[in-house]
Amino acid sequence: MPTVTFGEAIRQAYEEEMTRDKDVFLIGEDVGRWGSLYRSSRGLLEKFGTDQLKDTPISEAALAGCGVGAAAMGMRPIVEIMYIDFISIAMDQIVNHAAKWHQLSNGRVKLPIVFKTQGGAGRRNSSQHSQSLENWFVNIPGLITVMPSTPYDVKGLLKSAIRDDNPVMFIEHKSLYFDKGEVPAEEYLIPLGLADVKRSGEDLTIIATSWMVTFALKAAALLQQEGISCEVIDPRTLWPLDQQTLITSVQKTGLCMVVTEAPAEGGWSGEASAVVHEHCFGALKKPVRRHCGMRTGIPYGPSLEFDCIPSVNSIAAAARDLLGKPAAH
């Protein structure tokens, strides 16, 4: 199977979907000429032209609104907001309009729109360019929220998101674009709303999202050497949540840790913890542990930001603690 980067997998998804359906278009700042900040749409302007690759002024509110209007007309816009931090400018269009119009039209208007953005730390971008705001959307009826962690997943999920008739929040991670992974040459789709067991294990269930999945997997590999067997689950879609996969796992392991980059308080980790606790009360040997980003703005600098979010070592340490095993030395 070919090995490609996360960014290239996105580009392939765009290319395939834009070829299949001329109503699919990408709209955002420098998505055309530059091919997007992380080059995930490079080369597409030449191939698809300005009808399908639309560079826009710095007008996040209008471009989100533009997407909603076009979707109501039956087009299939992908609205790119360059950093999730700037989605703060387009919340009205997403929350009050995209999420509401299907219901408001009594089911007659479909909103096949994808809001695509990237969040998180790890690229030394400081506090106004590094936030993890995904849980804002999970609490909004009418929205689907997707956070892929691998090249394979991002391609399959993005294609499904583009084809879905609901508004989808599609949140990438800035530190994943250059990660590599196998992506089949043949076309495939991954259904929205299905979790993926990234690693099977017996002793502990780790539910991790986005970039944290890669950390959790590394921690699991490390712990394996110590005889600890972790199951790592990537929900992939935060809502609708594939509760069953989580429940089945925790019913087996009896221990659960939720790892997110966002701070715990008010974040999605609380949702995951509550769901597991509600459904696995008898099976849980200890409370679900939340291992999350610090409650701080992401600081600047060569490495300080890494101290504010979970790391491979901190995840491993938390896992040992949960299992009552001595700390590694």
């Binding site: 609104g65 533009c66 909603v68 076009a70 039209s105 609901n166 299905l194 609708p240 594939d242």
Partner: protein, 330 residues
């Protein structure tokens, strides 16, 4: 003259319909905020007269007369405001926000948002070369919103077929346009988007109609967008029973009543030789029709909880359903 009489009939319908709604609001049969339209009928009628049925109209939190002028049935609009299943939005939207897809009519209760949305409708029309136009009506208050600026610029650089109509009724709630809009005329903002400055007398239905026509023609030829300021006056409070004394002198309203579109159009018709009896008969006929409508409307059913929950989202393939147990925490 025939056209003017037709306009008069439509404006009269809107006037009486609006008064009926005010009345229904007082009787607590309209449930949310209700924003009367009295005095602004020439804008709705004049501008909508220039639209084709498949052109799109985006309206505001004060939408009911725009909706009727756009071709939505009185039944659908009235029962939407009364929250019944026969309403445009199945009674789920209400008096400030509903969608009538078949009539290509959309409105919403967040001020200013429709300008951004309009660019998307325009973009789809342009890209599909459908020949449609999108008309976006908004208030003087909305013209201070950031979306106004972003949408005007976006529509202008892409030459979208959008007619932006600023219905300047002199107030945004209690805020007089003179104090809250920094320029003399809102249309002066057009130059900032490379557009012409156009102001029309929004109490003159024929002038409004002509301006709309020109604008729509330009848009259909790919020479859009167009921004038009239609100057009118909000005769009623922002809503029924608002504390009007805090922001305007009653004398101002008395004066404004002299120039409101029905008074003016009627005078013109009579001066032109129209028979007063004909106009009276017209009024009676409309009143009768509206009375029958109300009788019917009051008997319509309310939507059930299922109706609401049914349309939160569309079920996904191979995944936990959007509708169903997950949709309902209670």
């Amino acid at each position: 003259m025939n056209e003017l009489k037709e306009f008069y009939a439509q404006m009269l319908l809107l006037r009486l319909f609006d008064q009926q709604c005010m009345d229904l609001k007082k009787k607590d049969l309209i449930y949310s905020g209700y924003h009367p339209y009295e005095g602004q009928e020439a804008v709705a009628v004049g501008f909508c007269a220039a639209l084709q049925p498949d052109d799109v109209l985006l309206s505001t939190h004060r939408p009911h007369c725009h909706a009727v002028a756009k071709g939505c049935s009185l039944e659908a609009v009235l029962t939407e405001m009364m929250g019944r299943r026969t309403g445009c939005s199945g009674g789920l939207g209400g008096a400030m926000q509903f969608i009538a897809v078949e009539n290509h009519f959309y409105c919403g209760s967040v001020v200013g948002s429709n300008l951004g949305l309009a660019t998307g409708f325009g973009l789809a029309m342009k890209q599909r070369q459908s020949g449609q136009v999108c008309m976006c009506v908004f208030g003087d208050g909305a013209s201070n919103h950031g979306t106004f600026h972003e949408a005007m610029n976006l529509a202008a650089i892409w030459k979208l077929p959008v007619v932006f109509v600023c219905e300047n009724n002199q107030f945004a709630e209690a805020m007089p346009v003179k104090e809250f809009v920094a320029c003399e005329r809102i249309s002066m903002r057009a130059r900032g988007y490379g557009l012409e400055e156009i102001t029309v007398d929004g109490n003159d239905v024929e002038e409004s109609r002509r301006a709309a026509n020109t604008a729509i023609e330009l848009c259909r030829k790919g020479q859009g967008p167009v921004l038009i300021e239609a100057v009118t006056y909000r005769i009623r409070g922002h809503y029924v029973g608002d504390p009007e004394a805090t922001y305007r002198n009653p004398a101002e309203v008395v004066e404004a009543r002299k120039y409101e579109p029905l008074v003016r159009t009627k005078k013109k018709l009579l001066d032109g030789g129209c028979d007063p009896a004909e106009l009276e008969a017209m009024q009676l006929a409309i009143s009768d029709k509206l009375a029958t409508l109300e009788q019917w409307a009051i008997q319509q059913e309310f939507p059930t909880l299922e109706c609401a929950v049914d349309h939160v989202g569309i079920a996904l393939a191979n995944a936990p359903q959007v509708r169903g147990p997950l949709a309902t925490s209670i």
